[in-house]
Symmetry: T
Subunit: 144 residues, 12 copies
Amino acid sequence: MKVFVLNGPNLNLLGEREPEVYGTTTLGDIEKLVKSRAEDLKAEVDFRQTNHEGVLVDWLQEARGQADGVVLNPAALSHYSLAVRDAVVACGLPVVEVHLSNIFGREPWRAKSVVSGVADGVIVGLGPLGYVRALEALVAILES
Amino acid sequence: MKVFVLNGPNLNLLGEREPEVYGTTTLGDIEKLVKSRAEDLKAEVDFRQTNHEGVLVDWLQEARGQADGVVLNPAALSHYSLAVRDAVVACGLPVVEVHLSNIFGREPWRAKSVVSGVADGVIVGLGPLGYVRALEALVAILES
Amino acid sequence: MKVFVLNGPNLNLLGEREPEVYGTTTLGDIEKLVKSRAEDLKAEVDFRQTNHEGVLVDWLQEARGQADGVVLNPAALSHYSLAVRDAVVACGLPVVEVHLSNIFGREPWRAKSVVSGVADGVIVGLGPLGYVRALEALVAILES
Amino acid sequence: MKVFVLNGPNLNLLGEREPEVYGTTTLGDIEKLVKSRAEDLKAEVDFRQTNHEGVLVDWLQEARGQADGVVLNPAALSHYSLAVRDAVVACGLPVVEVHLSNIFGREPWRAKSVVSGVADGVIVGLGPLGYVRALEALVAILES
Amino acid sequence: MKVFVLNGPNLNLLGEREPEVYGTTTLGDIEKLVKSRAEDLKAEVDFRQTNHEGVLVDWLQEARGQADGVVLNPAALSHYSLAVRDAVVACGLPVVEVHLSNIFGREPWRAKSVVSGVADGVIVGLGPLGYVRALEALVAILES
Amino acid sequence: MKVFVLNGPNLNLLGEREPEVYGTTTLGDIEKLVKSRAEDLKAEVDFRQTNHEGVLVDWLQEARGQADGVVLNPAALSHYSLAVRDAVVACGLPVVEVHLSNIFGREPWRAKSVVSGVADGVIVGLGPLGYVRALEALVAILES
Amino acid sequence: MKVFVLNGPNLNLLGEREPEVYGTTTLGDIEKLVKSRAEDLKAEVDFRQTNHEGVLVDWLQEARGQADGVVLNPAALSHYSLAVRDAVVACGLPVVEVHLSNIFGREPWRAKSVVSGVADGVIVGLGPLGYVRALEALVAILES
Amino acid sequence: MKVFVLNGPNLNLLGEREPEVYGTTTLGDIEKLVKSRAEDLKAEVDFRQTNHEGVLVDWLQEARGQADGVVLNPAALSHYSLAVRDAVVACGLPVVEVHLSNIFGREPWRAKSVVSGVADGVIVGLGPLGYVRALEALVAILES
Amino acid sequence: MKVFVLNGPNLNLLGEREPEVYGTTTLGDIEKLVKSRAEDLKAEVDFRQTNHEGVLVDWLQEARGQADGVVLNPAALSHYSLAVRDAVVACGLPVVEVHLSNIFGREPWRAKSVVSGVADGVIVGLGPLGYVRALEALVAILES
Amino acid sequence: MKVFVLNGPNLNLLGEREPEVYGTTTLGDIEKLVKSRAEDLKAEVDFRQTNHEGVLVDWLQEARGQADGVVLNPAALSHYSLAVRDAVVACGLPVVEVHLSNIFGREPWRAKSVVSGVADGVIVGLGPLGYVRALEALVAILES
Amino acid sequence: MKVFVLNGPNLNLLGEREPEVYGTTTLGDIEKLVKSRAEDLKAEVDFRQTNHEGVLVDWLQEARGQADGVVLNPAALSHYSLAVRDAVVACGLPVVEVHLSNIFGREPWRAKSVVSGVADGVIVGLGPLGYVRALEALVAILES
Amino acid sequence: MKVFVLNGPNLNLLGEREPEVYGTTTLGDIEKLVKSRAEDLKAEVDFRQTNHEGVLVDWLQEARGQADGVVLNPAALSHYSLAVRDAVVACGLPVVEVHLSNIFGREPWRAKSVVSGVADGVIVGLGPLGYVRALEALVAILES
């Protein structure tokens, strides 16, 4: 079982950027956390980050042929990128969306993700462990 | 470690009501699933359901003295019950909100939960296993 | 044929409360009117009133097993109780919604019922006789 | 007692047009149904249909002198024709509005009728029998 | 100088319909008032009323060839008839819009006329004499 | 008969300011025009202008004791000054509101006057002669 | 003179819950404060709290027969419970609404109380002493 | 193959009315253009214009029996005539909507056509040749 | 202890203006009422009224140096004067806002005060005695 | 004559992705269709697709120097990419926008294209042949 | 070259009022800063502050005859004073608007200035030095 | 001191594109202007332009390590790119946003920049010199 874990803009600065909101864990730490759990679950993880909407769309399309499912944190793109939304539909795979912070308790515009409606599941506010929960959920969907 | 798992209106009909949306698993099945996972995690679960907003508020207040955290599915109350929202804040415990179906992909009014902004985490669209993910998340918060 | 006639908050004060809006007929008078017509139609009527949203949800669930259809006046709950809406769907029976006064000609917020979209029919503004019309309509649906 | 039953645009295609929404009964069938019930009630019915807003306004004005009440299905005009609304007020007679399908459960713009606020009663979603209910309601108003 | 005075739906019932809002003067009385003032001003008046939007559009187009200006009371059509609005522009003549009652002090939807933005002037709330003011204004525009 | 003609902010620059919108007539010219017509009508005119909302309110209150009616052009204050609106009601006199340009055909925010709903009449877009029309209308109201 | 002082959801946790917003005074302390002032004013106070909307409606109806007026803090229910609003009207007694914190300076949704429009008076932001002010106001209304 | 080309209000003035927006081509010129292209495509064209919404609805219903498809320019009616929308659905034929000017680049209310959602295709801003494109598109649909 | 009681536009006409809304008590009567209560409370009152927003801002700034607190009825300015709002913050004193009538039960725009969010307390609908309640509240704040 | 045909995100998956909405024709098929028609019209076509908004902007700028006109399907970018809108204006060439499916009959957010207002023409809902229509329209504009 | 620097309500309290938002620099300090820079630029500065909207309008009109340009900080008036907006247009001079704090990062209503659309330039969030930047910009405009 | 000056989509066409809005100065001219002023201020400028949102985010992140501050003109991205907004926050440097034209006086959607709320300052409408003002402001912030 192959899983893409795809991360959107500015997540590469995790741990440095606004630690009072996002904590001090880096994206590298999260990658390790996710891969360690993936091993237990016999899943292979391809973990990537990009600041480019177009690259995120490319990767979702690439997942179509190469992966069984996607864990997706579109970051700021969540709130307006209908291109990412369409790519989630177009990739035809189970997708679990994840957000580190509780987007419902911050600025009003962060409470709305245009991607969520076409994801299979959404996990919000659980910090780095949210990725682990998302992976487990994805594996469960794929195994069901 | 003691966890309340609290369910709102009409969830007692799960498995019978709109199976094309909510599946055929009953609330009793979910209770078993959650309790089984709780055992692994050395947690005790008190699993309840009510159709009454006031009872849900009472239980959240009761949790204040008797539990360490709450998994909460407020069902239809999610979308307007500010009393439940205030009770989530008032109980002073970690609360993970869970929804069985993907509320972001259904009627527009279902996409907004007035409770989410004050929950610690939110898990949406993962079906019965969403409760298990929520329990794991809650335990992780309590152990951190 | 068994029909539940369920009434929401403050309808027990009918005849006393705001007679310029709601008239001087009491809820007891309406019950008699409805039961008398039910007799003609060979239907049995269980006529109830509650000020509690949760009780209204309980009764709609109870109807699921015990009745063939429901005449429902959710009163003020019409305008926000998504729990009642979900219960109307969940009960799986034909439901005819009825309002005594013309809710479209009063305060703007009264013009919107969150329940109407999932009812089979809606009868508005016909006063106590609206219940009789609703009963006839329900019987016609059940017999069709 | 004389009653006008007035029907708006496209209702002449009833039974042919979108049968999954409006059923297979034709407007002629409804006319028969209504006239048969009118006979029981000692009422005379003048049953008409037009695709022209102006004609509907003319007829409502004509009703002023020639009828005792009106059953009105303005069809699509319900949602924007303030001229029809003003004519309902201007005709000075009891008017019961009727809609075949449940306009509250379809497209959002169908849920709002600009006429309802000035009608005496509104009956929605009961199909052809809704006309019969409307006639009975009108007769009851006229006899009270 | 030739002036069309064009009146929209339900104005033919003036004096009978809602006298508490529109007074007891009939449209015939207004016609006399306007024609008498027109004589002083050496203007010829063609005074008409219709309940049909299409006829009002036809008349505005007819005015294009036959009149020097238009006094227009679109009545309820004011609030939604973009066809009348386009006809006002298309006729290429000075148009003064007039409303008998103060549309800004009644229902919110009456405060908005889609025609006003393309009229040369608008006169509101002055009752039958508003037509006289409008005629004087139109003559002044034509003579300037 | 005594009439106050009250003018709001920036009208003192009339004829200089934005002549493509407001023309080249000055406020002094309008005063002459109005006073000349007032003489015909046996009315006395007190013609004033101020840039201060508070002064406009003071003058409307002063009118209460000293005048029989008011012609009012609140200029930009029309669109937000609820203090002027309340003063129009409080002065207890007939008030005719006048605007030189067609406020319905310019910026969207100019289309809404918070004063119009409590004026007796409103005259818009007729330029300087609009004041004359307003004076005539006021005299007619006072004489009726 | 008999006064009901009715309190809505979560007010029983006062003093414990969010002391930075609501202070450290308990609801018991407020009861004492109010009863002590009531004694001065020769009024008898029945002081109650509930987390149930339906119970609050029941109590307002009970007040109808047993009390002369009501001091009401609907807490979170203020913002959506039209059932409580209707009960305030239905009880037919003077009602003074009170809020401990300044609801106009917090989350936007807290600024709107659906009950206020039908209360006789509203007192906001004055903390526990707001109840005393409300009681004094109620007594003054009853004595006037 | 028979095609109705139906035109709404004020299109008969094309070429005269607002040439800076709509150009100098007349509706007669467009008819010739369309018929010439129809000949190539072996299609017969019935080309009509009306200022009456009701007539447009009548024609769409007439098309049901007599034509294979419709090219429709509802002009101003596009923006509010739900009767025309319902007639498009009711006629059961392929319908291609056409607008001469770019309705998306003019007044905001022109950007929304209530008809477009139920048309098979929409062609906007291409001037008289837009009708030719619409005819070709319709023929292609009918031949596919 | 020194208290400013500041009144906004048109309150000087109290008792004369719209007595059905505001009662027959004059502002002079209220001043006496407030000063008499102030004497009991050992407070000195400076009671003023102005129709000028700028003067109200000046006075709030003057209060900064000369008073201990302010009772403020901004009247119509409440609904839009952000200058008054900023002055309330800038004066740095406790401010209790008061409204004579129930602004939540009148026109929709009256329900929103832009000042309330920065006042310490708000008292609405209690008539002249509302000023006394506000004074007592202010004294209590100052003494706490 | 040189024409760029530019396609936005996810259109490369055409034929595979959501065939119930977009059909089974691939983008390669459309390219052939367009090039074949271009040959008839003596036009040269440069046909491209990208998932990157920035690339689409680059290409529109490139068109400025190298092409005579553009056929543009911005796909999901239509609904929010003001950068693409500005590039359409900046390129200074005739642009015809095309959409395969009827964007007015799907999700509400798809009905609004921020690009349409600055395109020369818009063709919607005609499937692959819409590109051919767009090409013909562009050629006609360039030849006129 | 003569420049008016005009300041709106509450800016006279700068340095005292909310120093966490506006800093500790006083308006006098800013005046010195601006005048010192003006000397370098050979400009004469008339620096004023008022709490009165009407005075600000008077000054903008006065500038018309006496100054070459205006630096304007309308403070709270920015957000609603259309009278100031009209005066900016009417004065016919270059106007640069300045705000000390970042109005886009505070309360939502502060993000909208009704004046900005008619200013030549707008400078926001740069504190006291923003006035210097505005002066430089104004001089550059006047010299260009 | 090192400053990044970053420019968004279509600014590379400056001087060619819409000169009536943006003038004839090219981006190269602005670069020279800025670098010349930078020399006076002992600052080094890295001046860049991109049509790619992702590249703009990359550069803002790069600035984090390599620059002391940023002058940013996000062009069309200002109005929707929350990724750029988050990058502004994430870069942790002082950022001054600049717009060449007065975005508050053009299309409504241009008046809102999602970036402004997190910038340190915003300079709008001052043309090429706005960049110089922004640089001076940035240096002043860095030196303070």
